[in-house]
């Protein structure tokens, strides 16, 4: 069983469309994991049934037991996040400001403060429209994605893949360069970097590749909309050569990507022509490189 993670650094480069296409092409032989929990969009294309759901807890939130509170104010004094204002003569925790550091609870003389595990969303295991299994999650408002949630989604996917002897796990990775994307990459066999030839696309590609390099994972790159800026495309290619990243494919600027998404399809279902072939050939290449 091999784990393939698709990441992009920058949003809007077509990462999810490509991941979903691979998920479609792989059919029942793969397990899908959507770790882009901040903007989890893959379900719009893979139509999972949200069959099994589970509350997800991450981090902590202080809670004050008003019966025990003697209003000494020590908690508010030590809080560096202004998260314990006085409202109607009561010390109340502001959940949007509380970082869950637990300092207040440690200084409370009457043990009125406890740290509660924070319910930040739900994780799901579903069957997709092609009959494959998909692990995914949904975050609540103001909740941060975390290495923990990503690890959870990936673990579920892995367990299922192992039990059912599937060949691949295809992971829609988290954006950015923080803890969630580290957790997305951890344990991967191959990374697909999706980028576009814009000044910001190249900039973000370099930033996120620094991370991939640290983990010493083999990587390939898809340049999406390669024809909107030939000059930057050339710069990206030079970067790929220098770093020994496999250039998987160039995809043209094509509104069929959006048209497919609009009716809830992946590009390989919607388009029967060149574009579809290009995406499919990149998937074949990835499979080859990973085994």
């Amino acid at each position: 069983m091999k784990e393939i993670v698709i990441i992009s650094g920058k949003g809007g480069t077509g990462k999810t469309s490509i991941t979903a296409s691979y998920a479609y092409l792989g059919g029942k032989n793969i397990v899908v994991a959507d770790c882009d929990v901040d903007a989890a969009d893959m379900h719009l294309l893979m139509k999972p049934d949200f069959k099994i759901s589970e509350d997800f807890y991450s981090g902590e939130l202080a809670k004050i037991d008003q019966d025990k509170c003697i209003s000494c104010g020590k908690c508010a004094d030590v809080c560096r996040f202004d998260a314990i204002p006085i409202i109607n003569n009561q010390y109340i925790v502001d959940p949007l400001n509380c970082e869950g550091c637990g300092y207040c609870a440690r200084v409370c003389p009457t043990d009125a403060i406890t740290n509660e595990s924070l319910n930040v969303g739900k994780s799901y295991i579903s069957t997709t429209k092609v009959g494959s299994t998909m692990a995914h999650a949904k975050l609540g408002i103001g909740a941060d994605n975390s290495g923990k949630l990503v690890a959870k989604v990936k673990n579920e996917a892995k367990k299922i893949a192992e039990e059912n002897k599937k060949d691949f796990i295809v992971v829609d990775g988290s954006p950015g360069i923080g803890c969630p994307v580290v957790s997305s990459l951890s344990g991967a066999n191959f990374v697909v970097l999706v980028t576009e030839p814009s000044v910001s696309g190249l900039h973000d590609l370099k930033r996120v590749y620094e991370l991939v390099k640290k983990f010493k994972i083999k990587a390939g790159c898809i340049i999406n909309k390669f024809d909107i800026n030939k000059k930057v495309t050339k710069e990206i290619k030079e970067f790929l050569d220098k770093e020994n990243i496999v250039h998987l494919i160039n995809l043209p600027y094509d509104e069929n990507f959006t048209k497919a998404m609009t009716i809830g399809q992946t590009i390989v279902e919607y388009d029967q022509n060149e574009l579809s072939k290009l995406v499919a050939s990149s998937w074949e290449k990835v499979k080859e490189l990973v085994s």
Binding site: K10, A39, Y103, G142, H203, N229, T262
Partner: protein, 288 residues
């Protein structure tokens, strides 16, 4: 007037709108644009001004003083983030994991972990005519965007008077950094695409703004592709649509070269005019 520009997901045209709108508004009035997407600040690729000020930004982290330490282990016990770890006869601090809650430092019985400033990023202030541009950039490896966002806003408050229009380019998503970047705004513009992805992510952003009790309006980018679901949703929810930026391959090409779009495509300028009218009306209303 403070206006935040946000979006539920990345890549919908947030930076395009922020930079073009700021530049357009600055043709007739004083504007400051602040890039609060401190992990990936990209506005600066489109706005080139003269650097007039630069300062390092710091957050507080504990520093271990070996001589004072009795290795009691309290520091690592009270750290909920595993940023302080005892390793045999030494204490290790991981600055990127530290939330600067001060617990380890203040609860240390021998003052062996005083808090010291550590550089987390750089703030730069540029000027071109009426337009000021302030960007903050988090150093690679730093994970806490919130303190840098809040310090950048403080800089804006201290350096610009009430009558300057303040635009904030917020980070994408709906997590803590977004909340930090929008919570002081008088008004939030959400940018989206008329597609199922766009609609799904915009709904998350709208819910977040409701939770924060913020007035918001929508700008539709790449208008003409996709379907009408975004428009229908906004109508149902009574969210004004300020502008519809046409879907045009030229926009993508100009963006890819780091150029401002409205100077080359008149339809975009026209749409920005709508946004400007709305902002000016709001400002008038605010004054009354």
């Amino acid at each position: 007037m403070k206006i935040a520009i946000a979006s539920g997901k990345g890549g919908t045209g947030k930076t395009t709108l922020a930079t073009n709108l700021a530049s357009y508004l600055a043709e007739t009035q004083k504007v400051v644009l602040s890039d609060l997407d401190v992990e990936e600040p990209n506005s600066g690729l489109f706005i080139k001004g003269n650097l007039i000020h630069k300062e390092d930004k710091y957050k507080m982290i504990p520093e271990w003083i070996e001589d004072k330490c009795t290795l009691c282990g309290i520091c690592q016990k009270v750290c909920n983030f595993h940023a302080v770890i005892q390793l045999g006869p030494q204490i290790l601090v991981f600055p990127e994991l530290c939330h600067a809650c001060f617990a380890c430092s203040e609860l240390c019985p021998t003052n062996a972990l005083p808090m010291i400033p550590k550089k987390m990023g750089v703030l730069k202030h540029f000027q071109i005519n009426n337009l000021s541009f302030v960007e903050s950039r988090l150093d690679i490896g730093e994970e806490q965007a919130v303190p840098l966002i809040s310090q950048t806003q403080k800089y804006i408050d201290e350096h610009f008077s009430e009558d300057v229009i303040k635009l904030f380019d917020a980070p994408p998503g709906t997590s803590c950094p977004v909340i930090e970047a929008t919570k002081d705004a008088d008004f939030v513009i959400l940018i989206t695409e008329p597609t199922p992805f766009g609609l799904h992510d915009m709904k998350l952003a709208v819910d977040t703004m409701k939770e924060l009790k913020k007035d918001c309006a929508v700008v539709v980018n790449r208008f003409g592709i996709g379907n009408d679901d975004v428009l229908d949703y906004c109508e149902k929810e009574n969210i004004p649509i300020l502008a519809k930026i046409p879907n045009d391959r030229n926009v993508a090409e100009l963006y890819s070269r780091g150029e401002l779009v409205y100077q080359k495509i008149p339809e975009v300028k026209q749409q920005l005019e709508n946004v400007k009218d709305y902002i000016l009306k709001l400002e008038e209303g605010g004054r009354k």
